[in-house]
Amino acid sequence: MIDETLMSFEEKSAYKLRSVYKKYGYLPYKMGKFEEYELYVRNKDFLISDRVIAFNDTNGKLMALKPDVTLSIIKNGEDVKGVKQKVFYNENVYRVSENTHRFKEIMQTGLECIGDIDFYDVYETICLAAESLKVFSDNFCIEISNLDLVKTVITSVCDDRKFVSNAIKFISEKNSHDLQKLCEEYALDKNNTEKILTLVSVYGERNEVLSKLKKNFDLPQISDMERLSKMLDNSLFSDKIRFDFSIVNDMNYYNGFVYRGFLDNVACGVLAGGQYDNMMKKMNRKSGAVGFAVYLDRIEDAIRGNDGFDVDYLIIYDDNTDMKKIIFAVNELVKAGFSVSAQKDIPENLRYKEIKDLRKKD
């Protein structure tokens, strides 16, 4: 039996997530810490931060400490018809922190389903994303967008590159006022403006979103969303999974369904994933892929409480205390299931529940 209280947050989380992923046949994927630098230069927009720690290997080759796991998994796989590679990973990666702007070692956990993927795999990864969040809190939600639909709607009203990139930005910000101004700048008519604004105003419960979308659009992607939604009706967490087009990933890499997970006590998204067939194509792979990463560092910051104790008992002794007395006191408490710290003085930062003073009193 594993005593979880002895585990760090990362160890505990990785252990729990691993058992979730293994249940669904995902196998652990282990890899080295280094990768050729070129891999990241070619695909730097795919990375959360484009800065990488690079160094020359003994043979002169420029190498990098891994800033990401997904690229390595894609690079090392093969395309075989009807076959899917289902893996999960739990690796340290090295990235520039968004807050300190310095390099940081971050534990990245996630899973990838790569190969001849289909609708079921998208559904399965979303369910596993939900189960992953359930590990940390009951109060979570997952929001799904369909990038193909977003792209089709935007380009159908105006396919100017600058318009498309600005429109996507405003949709991701739920910024209808600037989106409307953008439409005015490009002299779009009322009908087209309303069409595009729908992507900001429509979000939430899946069936409500679908019925509003159907009123405004006749697009094949809506049938895809409907099909996925019906599949998700069978999921244990159906009520926590919603549609929201403000979830946007880089369309050069991602396509189809993308999603993000939130916990009620964490200020930003803690899980991000989706289909990345475009990335696969860029890396000369012929098959599709879907997967997600869980940002344990963001969760840890919010979950790590400060109300716990370091030990149950603090035993204080001095040079005159009989050693047998100390050993007896410690052993008795440990046998009774308590944690004990024997010290000569009260340590400044130690949080203890009870104190036992074994010093002789004059």
């Binding site: 929001e143 910000e173 739920k174 006022h177 916990l263 009620d264 200020a267 930003c268």
Partner: protein, 209 residues
């Protein structure tokens, strides 16, 4: 309880008045004292004043669920938040200004003094102009007068300060106004309350127009 970060100063007072008229009043905020947080338990809201440039940080980090920040701050710091409503107050422009006689002949690197280094860099990179950014924290108008820079990039409200110092607006980069912003996770879990506030504030915006 919904935490609302308001920008200290004249703009913040206008914003609070909009909240009050929208039905989200908190009378204790008008009392003269050193309190930092003001609560209306019945309405489920808690206001606090912060430095205008810090509002987006409070909201992005979830210390505030919603807040009001100038578009200049949002363009400069690019916080990861939702921008829910243009409040149409605190209106001004982000401009390039210089001495009246200055003409950019595009033969040397342009020296640009500004507080808004991101906005200035974005603007000049879009038009393909090579610049040298000089980051200043105040009295930006002094820079071209003393020859520290060729131009400045700054907020211009009425243009009086520029005029009094023999400077003029050369280009308007982007219009600025106050925006209602929301933390992304708060919008997921307190969406109903936030939407109610946004809709009530929207009515105020329409009324003011």
């Amino acid at each position: 309880m919904l935490n609302i970060a308001l920008p200290k100063g004249r703009l913040g007072e206008k914003v609070y008045n909009m909240f009050e008229k929208a039905g989200y009043e908190c009378p204790s905020i008008k009392e003269t004292n050193r309190k930092l947080i003001f609560e209306n338990e019945e309405k489920g809201i808690r206001f606090f004043w912060v430095k205008p440039s810090d509002v987006s940080i409070y909201v992005e980090r979830g210390a505030a669920d919603i807040g009001v920040a100038g578009k200049d701050i949002l363009l400069e710091y690019k916080p990861n938040i939702y921008e829910l409503l243009d409040l149409n107050i605190g209106k001004c422009n982000m401009c390039v200004a210089a001495k009246k006689e200055f003409r950019d002949e595009n033969i040397k690197v342009l020296k640009v003094a500004t507080k808004f280094t991101e906005i200035a860099s974005d603007y000049y990179s879009k038009i393909g102009r090579d610049i040298d950014i000089i980051k200043l924290n105040g009295s930006i108008e002094l820079a071209p007068i003393l020859g520290l820079s060729d131009v400045i990039v700054d907020i211009v409200e009425t243009g009086t300060t520029l005029k009094e110092n023999d400077l003029e607006v050369k280009t308007k980069i982007v219009p600025i106004s106050a925006r209602l912003i929301s933390n992304k996770a708060s919008f997921k879990f307190k969406g109903e309350e936030i939407e109610k506030i946004r809709n009530a504030m929207k009515e105020q915006v329409l009324y003011n127009d």
